[in-house]
């Protein structure tokens, strides 16, 4: 079973990186705001940067260990790295770019492999062009081929789609995922700040914040069910209540604003509720503690989903709706906030 173990500590004047995780074969998404240390982590694993302390082990071979002073050069780690900026060599042809990591192999082998990869990335007629003559999507395919052709032991994708337009990005995602799926069976780390992209592409996920791993696990858990306030913020969850906005009374009942909800157990530092898990219902028909009444404060139309801001128990809740046309400011509405929609945040 192929496995990456990383334990990295590095101190900067105004930032500290303290990351520890293991990643198994398959694509692991690393999500976090810019400046959270995602790219630094990838660069450290590739060997471009050295940690102050820690240990990096790939498939049992030690790449870095501060205790035994092992620090394998990036040249010998044989990882594949795809940069947001493509990092293609502008003075070399597409074919020479792809062949760059094969130096020292027999000429015939290089020619055959490069031809194979040009075909795989559907640029068979582009071998003699220069990177400057390619589109962004084409450049990133060349960059992927240049990494994959060396049969890397680890694949590091550092925001590979971020520089691309939306419509190209989706197509490239599909293409690259297929190529990686068919030709690579090891550990792959994908850094992104786009939660949808992380969800679409990865099986496992990690949330990074301020140089730390906040949360790690299967993508559905990590990307939709935050366990901390910081994680809920990174995931962009619409309703986050913390501090004086929420309380747990002496009976263990959760209070959000002036409204009472269900009983909760552990001590909490906050709660988060996705806007789309709250429903607008027709009437206050039962004594269901999840049905609340509020007044619309604002209506924000959207391309796909709109948002209405509702004052419930003295707090503003953001509720996603398909169509905002039937709502007006000042209107009284009933909303259903099921207990399972209220996600406890522990730190």
């Amino acid at each position: 079973m192929t496995m990456l173990e990383a334990d990295i500590q590095k101190q900067y004047p105004d930032f500290s990186l303290d990351i520890s995780f293991t990643a198994a074969a398959g694509l692991t998404g690393i999500l976090g705001p810019s400046g959270c240390g995602k790219s630094l982590t990838l660069q450290t694993i590739a060997g471009i940067l050295s940690p102050d302390h820690g240990r990096i082990v790939m498939d049992g071979s030690v790449w870095f260990d501060s205790e035994t002073n092992i620090n394998v050069r990036p040249q010998l780690r044989k990882s594949g790295y795809v940069f947001q900026s493509y990092a293609l060599f502008p003075h070399l042809t597409v074919a020479d770019n792809i062949a760059y990591g094969l130096k020292g192999r027999p000429k015939e082998e290089i020619r055959a492999k490069v031809a194979d990869w040009l075909r795989l990335i559907q640029l068979q007629d582009f071998g003699r062009r220069y990177p400057g003559q390619l589109s962004g999507g084409q450049k990133q395919r060349v960059a992927l081929a240049r990494s994959m052709i060396t049969e890397p032991r680890l694949l590091l994708l550092d925001e590979p789609f971020s520089a691309l337009d939306q419509h190209i990005r989706r197509q490239l995602e599909v293409d690259m995922l297929r190529l990686i799926g068919e030709h690579y069976h090891g550990v792959a780390l994908l850094v992104t700040h786009n939660i949808e992209e992380a969800y679409r592409l990865s099986e496992e996920g990690m949330l990074f914040h301020d140089g730390r791993v906040l949360q790690k696990g299967a993508r559905a858990d990590v990307l939709t069910r935050p366990e901390s306030i910081a994680a809920a913020e990174i995931l962009g969850i619409e309703n986050i209540f913390q501090g004086r906005a929420f309380a747990v009374d002496e009976d263990g009942v959760l209070m959000i604003g002036k409204e009472r909800f269900h009983k909760v157990s552990a001590p909490l530092s906050g709660v988060a509720v996705h806007g789309h898990t709250i429903g607008i219902v027709s009437s206050d028909k039962t004594n269901d503690p999840g049905i609340k009444t509020g007044v619309i404060e604002r209506v924000v139309p959207g391309v796909k989903d709109g948002t209405i801001l509702i004052n419930i128990g003295g707090l503003t809740w953001r509720v996603s709706v398909r169509n905002t046309d039937s709502y007006q400011i000042g209107q009284t509405v009933h909303v259903s906030i099921p207990a399972e929609a209220i996600m406890p945040l522990y730190h």
Partner: protein, 223 residues
């Protein structure tokens, strides 16, 4: 115009070419070091290197005279060990031309090195290439335009130096008299005709050389 000696022209070209060659050999490694260094030492060296652009050439010449003259430590050492004196020889003209022109080499090359993207260099390392291989196959080719610009300016500055050269190499006819000095000399002697011819030659030669370098640069980059 009976006897126009072309000696100053050839001396000027020889001095400028030698100085440019030395500037490439010495300047490129310094530029490479400086583009990476963000230490105080780096800034200090950078400042010292810019100085010759700002100081009047006569001041530089004076410094060189003090530093390399027969009474200086270096001058005494050279004379005692090898039996050579540097000042008032063509070699001194080369030193003067080098000192006034090398800042242009270093400044241009440094900017050119800094313009090579870090991601490119990282990529190359991760793809298995050694540092020296990366320097030769990536850094130099990608910085080439800036380096050539630096070489051009260095050569131009070396060819045109007057003040520093006059101070350390003097104006000995057929020995250390370079073209700019010969022109001044002709003018002082009231030989307008000679001065005109030398100025014309100098202009044509400079134009030809710069034009050729520009053409070569374009061809290298396209090729």
């Amino acid at each position: 115009m009976a006897d126009i000696s072309l000696f100053p022209l050839f001396l000027s070209l020889r001095v400028a070419l030698t100085a440019t060659g030395l500037a490439i050999l010495i300047g490129i490694p310094i530029a490479y070091y400086l583009h990476k260094a963000d230490s105080r030492l780096g800034t200090l060296i950078d400042t010292l290197i810019t100085l010759p652009i700002v100081l009047p050439p006569t001041v530089l010449g004076y410094y060189l005279l003090v530093l390399l003259g027969r009474n200086s430590a270096i001058g005494t050492f050279l004379e005692d060990t090898f039996g050579v004196t540097l000042v008032f020889t063509p070699a001194a003209a080369v030193v003067a031309a080098l000192v006034v022109s090398i800042p242009f080499m270093i400044k241009s090359a440094k900017t050119a090195f800094a313009s090579v993207g870090e991601d490119l260099l990282y990529s190359a390392e991760i793809l298995g290439r050694s540092k020296i291989n990366i320097f030769l196959t990536l850094t130099i080719p990608l910085a080439w335009r800036g380096i050539v610009a630096g070489i051009t300016m260095t050569f131009a500055r070396a060819l045109g130096d007057f003040g520093a050269t006059l101070m350390v190499a003097g104006s000995i006819p057929n020995e250390t008299m370079t073209m700019p000095i010969a022109i001044y000399d002709a003018l002082l002697a009231g030989d307008r005709e000679m001065a005109n011819v030398l100025v014309a030659i100098m202009t044509v030669v400079a134009l030809t050389i710069l034009y050729t370098i520009n053409r070569l640069e374009k061809r290298v980059i396209q090729g």
